[in-house]
Amino acid sequence: MEVSTTNNANGASTKSKPHHSRFTQQELPAWKPILTPGWVITSFLAIAFLFIPIGLISLFASERVVEIVYRYDQECIPEMYCDNVTGYIQSSHTNKTCIKNVTVPKKMIAPIFVYYQLDNFYQNHRRYVKSRSDKQLRSASGEFSTKGCEPEAKLGGAPIVPCGLIAWSLFNDTYSLSIEGKVIDINKKGIAWKSDTNVKFGSNVYPKNFQAGDLIGGGKLNESLPLNEQEDLIVWMRTAALPTFRKLYGKINSNLEAQDVIKVVLENNYNTYSFGGQKKLVISTTSWIGGKNDFLGIAYLTVGGICLFMALNFILLYVFKPRPLGDPSYLSWNRNSSRQ
């Protein structure tokens, strides 16, 4: 294909001659799809026909989930403390036990998950998120790396383990459930991620100097248990993305029948009152999409619907105002001249 360059008078020319290949000449074979009406309609319809079933299936899955949400932060304040809620919750002498009943609306099949839900709690605040030391949590040798944990880093020169604001503000309400006097076991094992208990939190790291300062934040830890067994802490340390969040409290491995009345004994210790946060107890089953989540299905249905609408629109427009593809009369020079 290439004429040899021997006939060139200039010897240098062969050297500077561009190399001829389809790549350098920008002639690589290429797929040049164009959006023909066929393609447009097909793709819109395809999306619609994919999304609408997915939406329906998701909605169905979400419907199957049974969820009990019970807000207790207001109800668990004794009337006498109504005017001084913060005083009540901060005092160590007041009785914080609170007994309430919730009804199971539908049959719940194990495993059933118990969550606590906090509201208006900025676990995602930058100061808060940073206030931890992964190094310290992982092994005993990292005890002294408390960088970023201020002001909960050290106590009189000795490091606090686990340090930082997150651990310090550990959630410490407790729930115990019973139905007709029969205690429902809440299994607190296995609520954290495996990788957290196995790797991230050390088995040789024990709490030290924790909640020993002047200011008491949240819950205390059992100093004889290594951190990787303190799953409440591990769950808490996974900071939530939004100020409203749920965290796993425990699992129930027995079924709950519809109309069962659960007696909940709460220890209402955690202070959300000073910033007006709500506290909720959530008991829920899951399906393959997780908890109750109608939005996913609705969103899928909406997008599918829009696509269907688009496809129909396009078909109609195409029927009433068709443009033959590759019709040269649509070229700008033809259009301009026709207008003149």
Partner: protein
């Protein structure tokens, strides 16, 4: 001599030209008195060692056009980088990231910046290296330099010092500015070609001082000592003031002794000279302005977008810091878990304003993702790759000279797609400065069978039209006459067996091989040939190998005439001081008769006289005046009985003009000896007179002689254009580009070229604006200006009143007039007129004026200009224009060195603009739009999230994600878009020149489109953020009951962003090679690979992202569902937009893509050809416009003919 050539050593100065009869200079001129400071340069000739140290140390002859050297590279290149406001911002952000204010870790801010700056600097370094190599090529050229012992040894240019004596040989360039001492001619003259300096092609004579003439041998220089005192280095090419002190005498030196660097020695064996100015002191280098750093329109517009984004950035930062301050003041005290205030005062409810301020800084860093840090580096990378493709384009490779096209600065690629006006040099760019003798008219009979290029094209177009519109024509009576006329006028050249002779394309057996003697008027023919052979100033050169003479002529036309005369059998073979010898071969005999003609007088050609005459005496003693000149001038000077052939010749001259040929009329007159003697006395009186009116007197005397002439005939010479020039101009015109020709040449030459390359044509109204030379009173400046204003106003008026849609105007203006027209108060009027004209030709313009005109067009119209040229005289223009293109492959490199792109031939300009320019423009435009889209889509999610964190400046994404986003995960497909995207293939770009207009009209980078993309980004960010948040915020996201923490939400969201933007780019592209497929796939895959690898790293590095994908996300169906949902939802509006746009309001390239897609071009060839011919701008210049005009003209003739014929046809029908 070296090449086996024999040259008569004659004193050309004793030819009786005007130039050499000047009275001896010494008698009048005193040595220059140096006034004022400055004129202080001392040059000790032949003692270069004195110039090694102060105070006489002058700059060396080493030249450097590089931007940086080894030491200055780092600071200067860094400075260049941080001139970009975005980079300063990122630098500041990087510094601030070291403080606790930063929302990210320091490495995630510094690493991308270092990467980006590093790549840009590498590019600078490579480009600088190329410049350096080019400089070295010049610096290493060799010249013979005196070594102090009477020997001249070759030395590289860079080692030459002031004071060195150099010996420059024929056809070499002068290495520095030299004082001419002596030459191989006894009288110390030499010929210099200054094409590189001012673009003039005629040779200039330089003359050594009488006193140094004796220095004409190598050995003499051993003891040569002299001192030169002269002016300081300055850029003025045409002045020089200085004295030479030699042998205790002082001689004044003027510009005619100065040989300038980069001009070339011609027709002279060698010269000796002393270096006066070297290196950057030399006049040509002083003329070189610093090459300005040019930025493309798109890049300038991009800056504005960056400002828009900065505004947005500041705005949302202000919002978030205000929000933060309020939250801190009012709510933070109650957030006991934060233990505010902290030690640093970043979260201090008591001093909320201060905390708010700190947070403003944080926010400014956090939202930095709105400003695409990698945009600049990606664009630069893309442009370098685009430039590589330009360099590699085999269609822009010139086989003859072996030069490929070269993008010397890559940052203007997309500007190539937006050019509106091309300003072109003439000689060397449009023409190759070679004339071909094509036709002649002698005694009223036309000779010469070959057709000019214009005629050929008109004929082929006609033939095509006849075929194409067969129906139109056959219906009409006399339709067949069309082809008859065509045959009449056009004879296609036969494949001649004889080898082509340079400068001679004439073909007609009636005149060749001595056949002319059998024609009707052999004596007129004889005279014609003699005029050709005698009336010139050329010097013959004998070539032993071929046994022929070649000619060194001042202008290429003369060369062509002499070659023609030689071929006709009148070989000019020798020139002495007083005679011209012609070897004549009559009546097809092989015998040569050498005849001597005594040259009595030579009346030189000047642009004012437009004619040249010789007075010769033949062997019989008969005295002739032989004259050649512009037809209008000659016709005015004919005697009554000399007008026999006038009518026929005029007709032929018109024909030739129409055919794009350059014409001259030839005439003679016989002189009686007494008559001659009387005139000659007066002539001698005039030429020896001293004083200012000498020239006027001479002119008057010549005028007296050159009248009552007898017309012999006319010649038609084709100014050889560079191959493909008319076609290229035509295509460019069809693509909607305007072409201005700026030339240093004479007006006539320029007009002729205008005809040859179809910028002008018969029937076009030429508007010549010139200064009136007859105004002799000294207070002319005002009057001149007034007359120019008048001319411009009249012309504008005329254009306004013109009704005919086919009418076209051409503006021709000369340099002198241009000085007035470019003045502040006139220039806009001038520009308006010029813009209204189809073609503009500026002649006799100085390099500076070229630059000024370019600036006027650039600033006056606000459109993109491209300047193309080949010589040093074009440098100013090349640098001034938005894009400068240099013609490479010719000897001088200045234009190329100053240019942004270099091509070997003018015709490659078409491909450079229409293919590469078009592609690059669209690529870069789409790429930038996409960049803004992607960064807005990503950056705004940060903002939304921050609003949910109490405006604390927390980001939902891991630092590493953010770092990789711009650098790895989204950069490669967009680079592929920028490098490989093609809306249509290159041959379609060329076939549909109208597509080019998408660039100058800026359809792909207007604010509508930019804001559209930004809006798309905004939409995308909303979708990504809110869908993910709502899906993940509180419920369990897995069957195992786990809820999503910040890392899970962030990772899911980020995955959605990656998918959305990568799908978006796939939708944007229309051309997928395996590279695009691979890179888009790679980007998405790379994200997963990274996620898995990152999750495997120690949790101390990965934090909460430890095992995130494998353990938490991958097993959750909702994660995959949300990706699908978000990706589709993000791209849905764009998909709808493009499909509706294509279906109901398609752009040109859409339709063409479809035609190609359905292979309609193969099925319906007729349609395809029709559209191709329609897809050109309505042009008034160019080849096709001219052909159209010619066809219109022929049709009119046809109609006339048929109206004459039709009664007869009717008559025949009745019989």
């Amino acid at each position: 001599m070296a090449h086996g050539r024999i040259r008569a050593k004659i004193k050309r100065s004793s030819l009786y030209t005007f130039g050499c009869i000047r009275p001896p200079r010494e008698s009048t001129d005193e040595p220059h008195l140096f006034r004022g400071p400055g004129f202080s340069r001392h040059v000790c000739c032949n003692q270069p060692q004195l110039h090694q140290k102060k105070p006489l140390k002058y700059s060396k002859n080493y030249i450097s056009t590089t931007k940086y050297n080894v030491i200055t590279f780092l600071p200067k290149a860094l400075f260049e980088q941080f001139r970009r406001v975005a980079n300063v911002y990122f630098l500041l952000a990087a510094f601030l990231s070291l403080t606790p204010v930063s929302p990210f870790s320091a490495y995630s801010m510094i690493a991308p910046l270092a990467f980006v700056i590093g790549i840009s600097m590498c590019k600078e370094a490579v480009e600088n290296w190329h410049r350096f190599m080019q400089d070295m090529k010049v610096n290493m050229r060799k010249v013979r330099v005196h070594n102090g012992e009477g020997d001249f040894l070759p030395k590289p240019w860079m080692n030459i010092c002031v004071g060195d004596v150099v010996k420059v040989e024929k056809d070499q360039f002068f290495p520095a500015d030299l004082l001419l001492l002596s030459s191989s001619y006894e009288d110390g003259i030499c010929y210099v070609e200054t094409m590189n300096l001012d673009g003039e092609t005629n040779l200039k004579v330089k003359r050594a001082l009488e006193t140094t003439l004796t220095l004409d041998d190598d050995s003499i220089f051993k003891d040569f000592r002299a001192t030169i005192k002269c002016e300081d280095p300055n850029p003025n090419l045409y002045t020089f003031v200085g004295n030479l002190e030699y042998e205790r005498q002082v001689f004044p030196v003027d510009p005619s002794q100065i040989l300038l660097r980069d001009s070339k020695l011609r027709n002279t064996g060698h010269v000796y000279g002393v270096v006066i100015f070297s290196g950057h002191d030399s006049k040509v280098m002083q003329n070189a302005t610093k090459s300005p750093s040019k930025r493309s329109t798109i890049e300038k517009q991009m800056d504005k977008i960056i400002y828009v984004l900065f505004t947005l950035l500041v705005l949302i930062s202000l919002i978030s810091s205000t929000g933060f301050a309020i939250k801190t003041k009012t709510q933070m005290p109650s957030w006991w878990y934060l233990q505010a205030p902290d030690a640093d005062g970043l979260y201090d409810p008591n001093r909320a304003a201060a905390s708010g301020f700190y947070h403003l800084v944080t926010a400014l860093i956090l939202y930095g993702y709105l400003i695409p840090i990698s945009l600049y580096v990606s664009i630069e990378l893309v442009k370098v790759l685009q430039a590589l493709f330009i360099n590699q384009d085999i269609h822009m490779y010139d086989e003859e000279t072996g030069t490929p096209a070269q993008a010397r600065t890559s940052n203007l690629n997309e500007e190539l797609g937006m050019v509106d006006t091309i300003l072109s040099d003439k000689t060397g760019t449009l023409t190759c400065n070679q004339m071909d003798f094509l036709k002649c008219s002698i005694a009223g009979i036309p000779y010469g069978m070959r057709s000019s290029e214009v005629e050929l094209a008109a004929a082929s177009q006609m033939a095509m039209d006849l075929e194409g519109h067969g129906g139109d024509f056959s219906g009409r009576p006399g339709g067949h006459n069309g082809s008859e006329i065509e045959l009449d006028t056009v004879v296609t050249p036969r494949e001649s067996s004889q080898t082509a002779i340079k400068g001679f394309s004439f073909e007609d057996n009636r005149l060749m091989n001595g056949n002319w003697s059998r024609e009707n008027n052999p004596d007129v023919l004889l005279l014609f040939f003699r005029i050709l052979a005698l009336c010139h100033t050329a010097i013959p050169e004998y070539n032993e190998e071929t046994d022929t003479y070649s000619y060194e002529a001042e202008s290429p036309d003369e060369g062509a005439f002499l070659v023609a005369a030689r071929e006709f059998g009148f070989e000019f073979c020798k020139r002495t001081q007083s005679s011209i010898f012609v070897r004549e071969r009559h009546f097809s005999s092989q015998e040569f008769v050498e005849r001597e003609f005594k040259l009595l007088n030579l009346l030189d050609f000047t642009s004012k006289r437009k004619r040249m005459s010789v007075i010769v005496q033949d062997e019989t003693g008969q005295i002739y005046l032989l004259c050649k000149g512009a037809d209008s001038i000659i016709f005015d000077r004919l005697s009554k009985n000399g007008r026999v052939f006038e009518e026929a010749t005029t007709k032929h001259l018109n024909d030739y003009g129409e055919a794009g040929l350059r014409t001259l009329a030839l005439a003679y007159k016989k002189l009686e000896p007494s008559e001659y003697v009387a005139w000659n006395d007066e002539f001698i009186k005039a030429k020896t007179s001293i004083g200012g009116d000498r020239d006027i007197m001479l002119e008057r005397v010549s005028d007296m002689m050159e009248k009552d002439l007898i017309l012999v005939g006319a010649t038609a010479v084709e100014d050889k254009l560079q191959p493909g020039v008319p076609q290229c101009i035509d295509k460019l015109a069809q693509a909607g580009l305007k072409l201005w020709v700026l030339t240093g040449d004479k007006m006539e030459t320029a007009i002729n070229i205008g005809f040859a390359c179809s910028l002008l044509r018969q029937g076009m109204k030429q508007i010549c604006i010139s200064t009136n030379v007859d105004m002799l009173n000294q207070d002319t400046k005002k009057a001149q200006k007034e007359s120019i204003v008048m001319q411009i106003t009249n012309a504008s008026q005329m254009i306004k009143l013109e009704k005919d849609p086919h009418a076209a105007f051409a503006l021709i203006i000369d340099g002198k007039t241009l000085t007035y027209a470019l003045e502040e108060d006139l220039k806009h009027q001038f520009l308006n007129l010029a813009v209204d004209c189809a073609s503009v030709i500026c002649c006799r313009v100085s390099p500076k004026q070229k630059a000024l005109v370019t600036r006027l067009v650039k600033e006056g119209t606000g459109k993109t200009t491209l300047a193309i040229g080949d010589g040093a005289n074009d440098v100013g223009m090349i640098q001034e224009a938005d894009i400068g293109v240099g013609i490479s492959g010719v000897e001088g490199m200045q234009a190329v060195m100053a240019s942004d792109f270099s091509i070997a031939q003018f015709r490659f300009l078409e491909r450079l603009l229409v293919v590469h320019g078009h592609w690059c423009y669209k690529r870069i435009a789409q790429m930038i739009c996409y960049f803004f889209y992607k960064n807005i889509a990503f950056g705004l999610t940060l903002f939304y999230f921050e609003a949910f964190t109490g405006f604390s400046g927390q980001s939902v994404y891991d630092d590493w994600y953010m770092l990789l986003f711009n650098v790895v995960l989204t950069s490669l497909p967009v680079i592929a878009l920028g490098v490989f995207e093609q809306d249509v293939s290159s041959d379609i770009c060329l076939q549909f020149p109208a597509l080019y207009q998408q660039g100058p009209r800026n359809l792909f980078f207007d604010w509508y489109r930019i804001f559209g993309w930004m809006g798309n980004g905004l939409y995308c960010s909303l979708i990504v953020f809110f869908l993910n948040i709502i899906i993940f915020y509180d419920q369990a996201f897995r069957i195992g009951g786990q809820t999503a923490d910040m890392t899970v939400v962030g990772t899911a969201m980020f995955t959605c962003v990656i998918y959305a933007v990568n799908c978006q780019i796939a939708l944007t592209m229309s051309h997928f090679t395996w590279i695009q497929h691979f890179l888009i796939g790679f980007s998405i895959l790379a994200w997963y690979v990274f996620l898995v690898l990152y999750g495997m790293m120690s949790p101390e590095l990965s934090g909460n992202a430890y095992q995130i994908f494998v353990e938490a996300l991958a097993p959750a169906p909702i994660f995959w569902l949300s990706i699908l949902l978000v990706t589709v939802a993000c791209n849905l509006p764009y998909l709808a937009h493009i499909s509706f746009q294509r279906s109901f309001n398609p752009m040109d390239h859409h339709v063409i893509q479809e035609i190609k897609y359905y292979k309609k071009d193969v099925e319906d060839r007729h349609m395809w050809t029709r559209e191709r011919s329609k897809a050109r701008q309505e042009t008034k210049i160019g080849f096709s416009a001219r052909v159209d005009a010619k066809i219109r003209h022929l049709r009119q003739m046809l109609q006339k003919k048929s109206s004459v014929l039709s009664p007869r046809v009717a008559l025949a029908a009745t019989r």
